[in-house]
């Protein structure tokens, strides 16, 4: 059957009609009919995006039995969706339509009317040529599973679980330890702006354990995962237990928390041998158990040095929470004895919350001394430092408390590998977009929250957890379906040599190697259609739908005819 292509040029008021000679376009185009063996319907219209324009197009498609539609109008960024909507009201598949941008790319940028007209004809001819080689594509809808797997039962994992369970989602919470609560439950106290104390964390654990929608697997780990957003299959097992649990979920939240840098990283400090030097976590544990911080040799310290930024330079990032918790620990010490000499050695205070500076001033008011230093070495409990004025001084303390940098928790690399999520230079998981999509990863349906995402404390961990719950609740509606991208890549089995180049370049992990057939295969539910794999294929096996070679070649050939 001969293709019947409708070509409609929008006047866009004076915007196109005054800048290009539309009548000349209409006269010139029919010359294509013989050359391409097609039938053309060529018309102009005042404003195609108006209500009248849309009705006009709908009637034209129906009455003329158009097989293809080409519009000479404005940018697809303005009105592609408008005209796709028109096509959807008719029997014409929207992938057999193309909008040609003769306004922004001709009428508005070429002041010579003849040249602009010539250019517009070139664009429209190229568009017609392309659309003839376009294929009808159909939307696919996939069923989804609204349940969620959460890896890590710390504050972030628990918060995500409770947020999801509140909306009746079944949550599988997998924790490798024998208890929930992560690092938060070990603390001696919380910041005032976090409201309440450790009892609050224990209450949260109780709420999780008491929630029927949350199934908790302690001493368990994720062992395998396949699938994609809405349809993951995961295997959860316990070391030493043969029996594995196969679970089906729609999304996975990684909330594996964070580790602490080994203070041995600090040059000149032999932490393992120095008795009265402890880490902030040691101090928290001690305060939590005994209600006070004592010397290992017994008795109360009379002077304590709090050392910030331990390992910061080596790690290459600020850990965000240390300044605040070190001020909190100074508070424990001042509570213990108001006369105690408490000195914070810092390298510039990081107090990012609106409440933090007040908290710091309060500590200062209680006699906590803040010393800004350039350099610092610790020998035993002697602190030698260079101040901002360039002068060096040495001070002796009874006790030294270190704030080691946060670092990715143990097992992060293995987990990243298992999930297919890349790691950033800092060793933390890499989010898909730092600013606009910070909890999502390149694997759609896998989210990273809490201190597994980047150094963060309780407040931000909870926010990130809630954010992941928000994304899951809005993306996976029970009984709903998801519509994956249609313009995806595909691999033609006959041409594929299974070299694996495309697997390496795909950011989304959308391509896998099928060992049985010895070829690479695109998972269409995961592919976003960028076409990068296409450029990596040495054997011509790849095709990116709606941006195929043929389509681009035909458009290009007419563009330079």
């Amino acid at each position: 059957m001969k293709a019947k292509v409708g070509v409609y040029v929008c006047e866009c008021g004076p915007n196109i009609s005054e800048k290009v000679d539309i009548d000349k376009i209409l006269e010139t185009l029919p010359g294509l009919e013989e050359y391409r063996e097609i039938e053309l319907v060529v018309k102009r219209f005042g404003l195609l995006c108006s209500g009248d324009g849309k009705t006009f197009l709908e009637d034209e498609i129906n009455n003329n039995g158009l097989t293809h539609l080409v519009l000479g109008a404005c940018s697809p960024r303005d009105h592609d969706k408008t005209f796709i909507g028109v096509c959807k009201k008719t029997s014409l598949n929207p992938f057999l339509y193309k909008i040609i941008n003769i306004r922004e790319h001709c009428a508005w940028i070429i002041s010579d009317k003849d040249k602009a007209t010539e250019k517009a004809i070139t664009y429209i001819r190229a568009g017609i040529n392309r659309v003839l080689f376009q294929s009808a594509l159909l939307e696919k809808k996939l069923d989804i599973n609204p349940d969620v797997l959460i890896i890590g039962g710390g504050i972030a994992g628990m918060e995500a679980a409770l947020s999801l369970a509140a909306r009746d989602r079944t949550v599988y919470l997998v924790e490798k330890d024998d208890h929930l609560g992560g690092k938060a439950v070990l603390l001696g106290g919380l910041l005032p702006r976090q409201g309440g104390g450790p009892a609050k964390i224990r209450e949260k654990i109780e709420s999780v354990l008491g929630n029927d929608m949350i199934k908790v697997y302690l001493e368990s780990e994720l062992e395998g995962v396949i699938g994609f957003l809405g349809n993951f299959e995961v295997i959860v097992g316990s070391p030493g237990d043969e029996e594995k649990k196969d679970l089906k979920v729609g999304a996975i939240i990684v909330a594996t928390g964070s580790g602490l840098a080994d203070p041995a990283i600090l040059e000149g400090l032999d932490y393992s041998k120095t008795d009265e030097v402890i880490t902030s976590m040691d101090a928290e544990r001690m305060f939590s158990k005994e209600g006070k911080i004592s010397l290992k040799s017994g008795g109360d310290p009379k002077s304590v040095a709090l050392i910030h930024c331990v390992g910061r330079e080596e790690k290459g990032y600020c850990s965000r929470i240390c300044c605040n918790y070190m001020i909190k620990i100074a508070g424990y010490l001042k509570d213990q004895s108001a006369d105690m000499k408490v000195t914070e050695f810092h390298r510039g205070l990081c107090l990012p919350d609106k409440a933090d500076q007040g908290f710091q001033k309060e500590a200062e008011g209680r006699g906590v001394e803040f010393k800004r230093v350039r350099e610092l070495t610790i020998t035993g409990t002697n602190v030698r430092y260079e101040g901002m004025d360039g002068k060096s001084e040495g001070l002796k303390f009874d006790m030294v408390i270190l704030a080691p940098a946060l670092e990715p928790s143990e097992g992060t690399e293995g987990m990243a590998d298992l999930l297919g999520v890349p790691l950033s230079e800092s060793g933390y998981y890499q989010e898909i977009h730092q600013t606009t999509n910070p909890v999502a990863t390149s694997i759609e349906g896998v989210f990273v929250v809490g201190a597994a995402h980047s150094p963060k404390g309780i407040t931000d961990s909870m926010l990130f957890a809630q954010a992941s719950a928000g994304k899951i609740l809005s993306q996976l509606i029970p009984g709903g379906k998801i519509t994956p991208e249609i313009k995806v890549s595909e691999i033609l089995e006959a041409y594929c040599t299974g070299c694996g180049n495309c697997l390496d370049v795909c950011v989304y992990g959308a391509i896998y190697y099928d060992e049985g057939r010895g070829i690479s295969v695109v998972n269409e539910a995961v592919c976003r259609g960028c076409g990068n794999c296409f450029g990596s294929c040495p054997s011509g096996a790849l095709r990116t739908k709606h941006f195929t070679n043929t389509q681009l070649y035909e458009e290009m050939r007419e563009a330079i005819r």
């Binding site: 008021g13 404003l47 702006r193 609106k354 101040g387 901002m388 600013t435 910070p438 909890v439």
Partner: protein, 432 residues
Amino acid sequence: MSHSENVLIIGAGLAGMTAGLELAHAGKKVHLVERLPLIGGKVIKDEESFPNLECSTCMVAPVQQDVLQNPNIVTMTYSSVEKIEGEAGAFHVTIKKNARYVSMTDCIGCGMCYEPCPVSQKNEWEENLGDVKAIYVPCAGALPNVPVIDAQICLKLTGKEECSACADSCMFGAIKLDDTDEMVEIDVGAIVIATGAGNYDASKLPQLGYGKLPGVYTPFEFERLFASNGPTLGELTLRDSEKNPEKVVILHCVGREEVGYCSSVCCMYSMKFAHFIKKKLPDAKIFNIYSDVCVVDKNYQKFFKKVEGADTKMLFSPTIDGVKVSGNGSGMKVSYRGGDGADESLDADMVILATAVVPDPEVGTLAEMVGLELDRHGFFAVKDDVAGSVETTREGLFVAGTAEGPKDVQTAVIQAEAVVGRVMSYLGKVTG
């Protein structure tokens, strides 16, 4: 009163848009109210965002387009919330749509009407660095791409003259000089406040010379000066002159002591500015005067160090309080106290003040209307006993972004997404 599943979002910056899109995706009907004629918020004023120096327009334009084209989102620009009645789950909201004098449905955004308009004024959106006509869009590429007429200066609307130059130039009959304010009433189950924040008024610190010395800039003035879609098309020319700056001082923590908190973003954008200037003017000398360093994300310090090493000299001062900027011939002199306590000074022809993030100036009116208390700094407070909350002290009301306090774009987006989760749960609870 029956409960509603619909959501009102006040403020169409990145936080409001993100929350709106995700709630719409979940099938909620969203009313997005923005007081400016365009959506996008503060982020679109930045040419590039830290730490990746990513083009903000490229990052946000697809979000803006998605918002405007989403059938579940009713976007009302140039509008404000006037009244909120009822209770959580069943709010009755009155919104005033200010007369735009240009039809949102008929206008195609061709811009033919600007040229003939005979009156112009400073463009507030461009931080008064450029001019606009009485009929205008705030910036090239504004979305929605529909102009608005400023009734305060339009000859016809002020009654000064029978002018119809814009209407005559419009082939689409989109100019409606008889347009009037319109009241719209809607019912919603939940309300999200995402009204953003303002910047500390630097003229409150007269010793820094802002408003008197033309070479002193606020952060957003600098952003627009640098922006390739801004008034100078990105040419870094000094105010009231055609000259490029040769010596630039960026002063951190302006207003920090006065407001009583660290704004957590200034260190990063100050370093971004240093990098921007060095990129365009490789011979320029750039100094940052700072006291603390707040670079709170896993990727921030890396950027900070890179700029510190390559583009700027960091000058420590124990306190920013003592800094003075004074006129010095055609240039300026910046005096400050050095690390050793001695008085130091620098010559400069451009000074950028990294002013604190402060509550939006209109926050009080809104707080009163929605019945919410503000915290001691004037930001919206979250429920006091819940860390990491996005719920306000009033049921059914949520807050996201810098309306809650200073924060970077990432955290604003995180709060918006957290709000989505909370709103979904909340609506599920009240409507069953």
